[in-house]
């Protein structure tokens, strides 16, 4: 890379190559979103752009239409994996996102193709329902319809999936590694499992004297208001009124934090749930279950 013109040509070339495996996703009224052919027969997009109980169609790079069905959803990461037979469409070139550094030049792309450029502004963004290490923050404009589209480096390799669903203020992308993990769930098991405890919770403020006595940094936790019978939580002995302060050492300050901890990979694994019962901390061992499918 020697001149600005070389860089300009590299960016335009990257857009040309990536547009070969991008789809317009028609999964909501009016505004289509963008999808990426991540693996043969599997298209990744943003979960919030694909409504439930709706026929999904895709428009391919050459204008052809394909019908698609939802193979799995991760509402926490805002990723949906669609099943579609798209003959003749090449699979996306997915990069190793460990090489991404703050300051790297990146582009967000929408079907069309449409492009937007900027830089990686932060790695390791932990926000709300999102666990650390799953999101990249980028300093660029995500235009309407860019959700579910690829975030690419100057070679046109995918380093993430853009989503406006993560935050209203930060422009974010789900890292390629996290997306690949979800796609692999679909390849192996035909779906994305949803981890499940079987509790209903509400946020609750922790009194200062209690926080000081127990050395807790968080100001809030969640109180259990419902325990589903025969659920993992019931088996582990959680009862109504328990205040969940952490799971495996990760602070639970609001109900959304539970979603962030309960990643699909946790299904079947043991987790230590730290609760306050009668003002005293207590550790309970829970085997994380899988959410029963909606009948």
């Amino acid at each position: 890379m020697t001149t600005v013109m070389d860089l300009s040509n590299a960016l335009a070339g990257a857009v040309e190559r990536t547009s070969a495996w991008m789809f317009a996703v028609h999964g909501r009224p009016r505004l289509p979103s963008t999808g990426v052919l991540w693996h043969a027969g599997l298209v990744v997009t943003a979960n919030h752009t694909v409504e439930h109980d709706r026929d999904v169609t895709l428009t391919g790079p050459d204008g052809r239409s394909f019908s698609a069905s939802v193979a799995g959803r991760d509402p926490g990461l805002d990723i949906a994996v669609l099943r579609a037979v798209a003959d003749g469409v090449p699979v996306a070139d997915v990069a190793d996102d460990r090489d991404v550094r703050v300051g790297h030049l990146v582009m967000a792309l929408g079907a069309g193709p449409r492009a937007s450029a900027g830089i990686v502004s932060a790695l390791d963004v932990g926000r709300g329902r999102h666990a650390r290490g799953e999101l990249l923050a980028v300093d660029l404009t995500l235009y309407p319809g860019f959700s579910g589209g690829p975030l690419v480096d100057v070679h046109g390799r995918v380093i993430g999936i853009a989503t406006s669903g993560a935050s209203r203020h930060l422009q974010c992308a789900v890292r390629a590694t996290s997306v690949t993990r979800l796609v692999e769930h679909v390849i192996r098991g035909g779906r994305i499992p949803r981890a499940y405890l079987g509790v209903g919770t509400q946020p609750v403020e922790l009194p200062d004297p209690l926080r000081e006595r127990l050395g807790l940094a968080q100001r809030t936790a969640v109180i259990v208001v419902h325990v589903r019978p025969d659920s993992p939580a019931a088996t582990a002995g959680l009862i109504i009124g328990d205040v969940i302060v952490s799971i495996d050492g990760r602070a639970i300050a609001e109900p959304e934090d539970l979603v962030a901890v309960l990643q699909p990979d946790r299904v079947g694994a043991a987790a230590t749930v730290t609760v306050l019962r009668g003002g005293e901390p207590r550790d309970l061992q829970v085997i994380v279950g899988e959410r029963p499918s909606r009948a």
Binding site: T2, V4, M5, S8, A10, A12, G112, A117, D153
Partner: protein
């Protein structure tokens, strides 16, 4: 992509492109004196701008070296939002142009103008899309470049400083520029009709 920065290798930059564009970007002031728009020095004695920037038949044209001249309207096309003005000779080399039909999505572009009255300000970005805003409409260059009032009529150029479009509108945060090939056709027909009028 690893942009390796050897100690002796200069970092690619746009400073020369900016200088080149500053010289060919003029300020257009209307007789009322309200606000300032931009224009492109098309030929030694021709300036082109948006019709919505220059609404009078005689406007002021300011150069980067602070010289001011009076410009006479040759022709304005309100529908195309283009206007051509004739200026006295002043010795500044006109803009260089690229073929806007070869522009690609993702290519780096820069805009020069007077956004919010900040004279000869450079903003940079990439080509976002090419085509009409709505199906069947007029074709624009959509650029992911920050513009503001005062950019209208000014150049959108490629990374070599060759003008590819005329910044005309802001829509949904995007810059909309008239492709320079369309401006070229407008200027050709405007100068042809001017010549025909002067011979009769």
């Amino acid at each position: 992509m690893s942009v390796r920065l050897a100690r002796e290798a200069p970092i690619p930059h746009l400073a020369e492109v900016a200088d080149q564009l500053r010289r060919v970007t003029v300020e257009i002031t209307s007789p009322g004196g309200r606000g300032v728009g931009a224009g492109i020095l098309w030929a030694p004695e021709l300036v082109v701008t948006n019709a919505h920037v220059a609404r009078a038949s005689c406007v002021g044209v300011g150069f980067a070296d602070d010289r001011q001249v009076e410009a006479q309207l040759v022709v304005a096309d309100r529908r195309a939002d283009l206007a051509l003005f004739r200026i006295p000779p002043h010795g500044v080399a006109p803009a260089a142009f690229a073929d806007s039909d070869t522009l690609r999505v993702g290519a780096l572009v820069v805009a020069l103008g007077h956004p919010l009255g900040l004279r000869r300000t450079l903003t940079a970005g990439i080509v976002h899309a090419l085509g009409p805003v709505r199906p069947g409409g007029r074709r624009f260059i959509h650029a992911d470049v920050r513009l503001a009032p005062g950019n209208s009529g000014g150049p959108l150029a490629d990374s070599a400083g060759n003008v590819v479009g005329m910044n005309t509108m802001i829509a949904g945060g995007l810059a909309l520029a008239i492709p320079i090939n369309d401006v070229r056709r407008f200027v050709a027909s405007a100068t042809a009709s001017e010549a025909a009028a002067s011979t009769t």
